[in-house]
């Protein structure tokens, strides 16, 4: 699964730590999500969507192997 969390984070001018604090996870989790090593739960995806004010579909995208 692909995501553009890193891009959204840059648009909002957040560091990984800022974003982590805002949605209540560790910075390591943000880092792992950006690298595509961790796929967040639906709840966490919705929190990102609410924070960035865009839909979940605009943040996450399925890939062929999903």
């Amino acid at each position: 699964m692909k995501n553009n969390i890193k891009v959204q984070r840059a648009i909002h001018n957040f560091t990984q730590q800022d974003l982590a604090d805002k949605i209540g996870v560790s910075r390591q989790t943000i880092n792992a999500m950006e690298k595509g090593k961790y796929v967040p739960s639906t709840a966490l995806a919705l929190k990102l969507s609410q924070l960035f004010k865009i839909s979940v579909n605009e943040i996450f995208e399925l890939e062929a192997e999903d």
Binding site: I23, G24, K37, A43
Partner: protein, 169 residues
């Protein structure tokens, strides 16, 4: 609808609190090392703590009598160490991380599954290739092996995660 974004932290109420982690880790490590040393150096006989204990079943080898549901005299050195190791090992293994979130939960599950598989693979191998009295040592080790393998795997995976998290911003 306004939600508190920070409340994402999973309500994992089955874990022990983070503040117990350090102290339980220290007690676990010390009692495990002492237990292992005494086991291999026949230390349970050298440092006996004789007391009366309640036994549901007690059997003193080939010549001894069997006693059920009664009080017997025994050294409790090993009992104390085993209880300390298991109780504090469980608390250390299953207490919350400093930043407990859903990825830590996922890493914990992953480590637990692998620890179980590795542990049973070791049991099968020992069962196939170790015979006689040495197998008693294996049986004793099996009491702690899954917990120990889980702790090592989980700590290693969390360490890897933290290390990967520091190399870029």
């Amino acid at each position: 609808m306004v939600l508190n974004l920070k409340s994402i932290n999973m309500k994992t109420n089955y874990l022990f609190p983070y503040r117990l982690k350090k102290i339980s880790g220290i007690i676990f490590l010390i009692s495990f090392i002492v237990l292992t040393l005494l086991y291999f150096l026949d230390g349970f006989e050298k440092f006996p703590i004789k007391t009366k204990v309640f036994a549901i079943v007690a059997d003193y080898g080939l010549l001894g009598e069997t006693k059920n549901f009664g009080w017997i005299e025994d050294s409790v050195t090993d009992e104390i160490l085993v209880i300390l190791t298991i109780v504090f090992g469980i608390i250390f293994a299953f207490s919350k991380e400093k930043y407990e979130d859903e990825m830590v939960t996922s890493v914990r599950l992953h480590s637990l599954v692998w620890a179980t598989i590795i542990n049973y693979a070791l049991i099968v191998l020992s069962y196939m290739f170790i015979y006689g009295m040495p197998f008693l040592t294996v049986m004793s080790a099996i009491m702690f092996s899954q917990l120990l393998i889980f702790i090592i795997l989980f700590r290693y995976n969390i360490y890897k995660l933290n290390k990967a998290g520091t190399d870029e911003e």
